[in-house]
Amino acid sequence: MNTRIKKTIKRVFFYLTIALVLAWVLMPFFWMVSGSFKSTLEIQASDIKTPGQEPTWIPRRPTLENYLTVNKVVKIADYFKNSVIISLGTMIFCLIIAVLAGYSISRFKFPGRHPYTVAVLSTQMFPGILFLIPYAVMFIGVTRFTGIPMRDTYWGMIFTYTSFALPFSIWMLRGYFNTIPREIDEQAQIDGCNKIGALFRVIIPLAKPGLIAVGIYGFMMAWGEILFASVLTGKDTTTLAIGILRYITTQENRWGGMMAACVLTSLPVLAFFTLLQKHMISGLTAGALKE
């Protein structure tokens, strides 16, 4: 009897802790969604000191106003388009280049492989701000000497982000390729493929989970990057990560609009996550810190 009570108490305590953790994790999401359905007036008029006017979890008078006017002052639809183009571009280029490089270091014991791998990883250790300064100066220089616009162009951003996503992607794909037995390529070669043929016909189909994980990683990196976007994008290429901040200006705080934009920005990411959670989690744990 005693042990049964003890067990029940333990159980209740366990689930309470889990509930507490979930509350802490989900609270900001509720606040975001609820804020996106509150009218500007309700948010502006709320005051924690005035009884009856306190900010609430449930909107007092839910409205779609923020979603309908989300594009009115801040051109969030343009930013959305820019982010989609830049993120998809990054995803595609990163996948192609990382597959080639990852295959190379996974399958060939060429001299220089080890220093190359260390160099790839060491890029993760630089502060972004260190190469942002010379990089921005280089953008200016390239445009001056060749006339090719770099700053505030889609391809300039795709170029930049592809390179950012590469080290981790190469590392992750190398890990996936290493798990595919070499006998499989050898078999393919016996069947008449050359090494490149083996990569495309045999290895890539087998490494599909890895490719999905890397693709999503590249997309999300570009979708959320702030530091370089804050300097290198301009009126034609502003991404969502920067654009969202424009709802708050010195003149006006459009919290409702900002929350609606936040919901819209999170949707693609959440969709990826729900559909492909398994690949993403395995990619994260396999690639990031494999010992």
Binding site: W31, M32, I129, V137
Partner: protein, 315 residues
Amino acid sequence: MKNTRSMLSSISTVMGNIRRYRIAYYLLIPALILMLLVHFIPMIWGITISFLDFDVHTINDWSKATFIGIDNYINGLNPITTIGERFLRSLWNVTFYAIVVLSLGYLIAMGVALLLNRKFKGRIIVRGLILLPYIIPDTVAFAVWRFMFQSRIGIVNKYLLDWGWIKEPTLWLIGDKSIYAVMIASIWKGWPFTCLMLLAGLQSIPDDLYDAARIDGASAWQQFKSITFPLLIPVTTVLLLLSTIWTFYAFNQFYVMLGSDPGYQADVPSTLILREAFTSLHYGIGSAMSVILMLIMIVFSILYIKRIKPGEEIV
């Protein structure tokens, strides 16, 4: 003569290797070019700029920038000048921030990982949900926290007032409290990743170790102390090294929650350097300060790269 011959033979070995592994090198070329252009050349160029008098006048003609030795470093670190004082303060701020965020984040992550390592109904769903903070974009997460920390209309102050912890609405995002607001938001955003890694580590610990310990009458705490934690040390080390480096370069959370100038009490190197380079247009000093930041982190970086031993698992 002998030397020449051995040199020639080593050159021919290198050439032979290049020919033999031609395909391998071809496959690497795109990645190599991109990383040279975006990472390595700018890094070398950045270190060069840190020794030049590089500002708005010389940006259009690089040859006019004069070599000024370590003046930029002296300016950046001199506590008497405004910028030097702020830089030193920003280094202190980020150290304090890193210690709090990493240690609390790790404790939460470890606690939750231990809970999630048990089998219970809905475990997969809970694991998915706790990852949400980690996967949403930084801007979204920190914009929402900025809203929550508003003094008059925010939910944080409402609860603090309800619970009687404060009498007047606290100003969270201005002044000396702002760094704590950013810490709370950053812990919220960062711990799920640590938790996921620790959970992967926990699941690789064989059950029979615990069975044996239980037979010997070890309590839960003793099991944790002598089995779980020691076996998680490798994961922990890599995690802490990596997150220390990333935390010291922190930018997004400060920029989104507090703006491009977070103020003296919450300024961190990345925000300060960004303003120094792109608002004040002192590229030289900005570069010198980033080099200093990188040098501080170099010990952690070398330890990290040594840890993951890239050569070993190549088949």
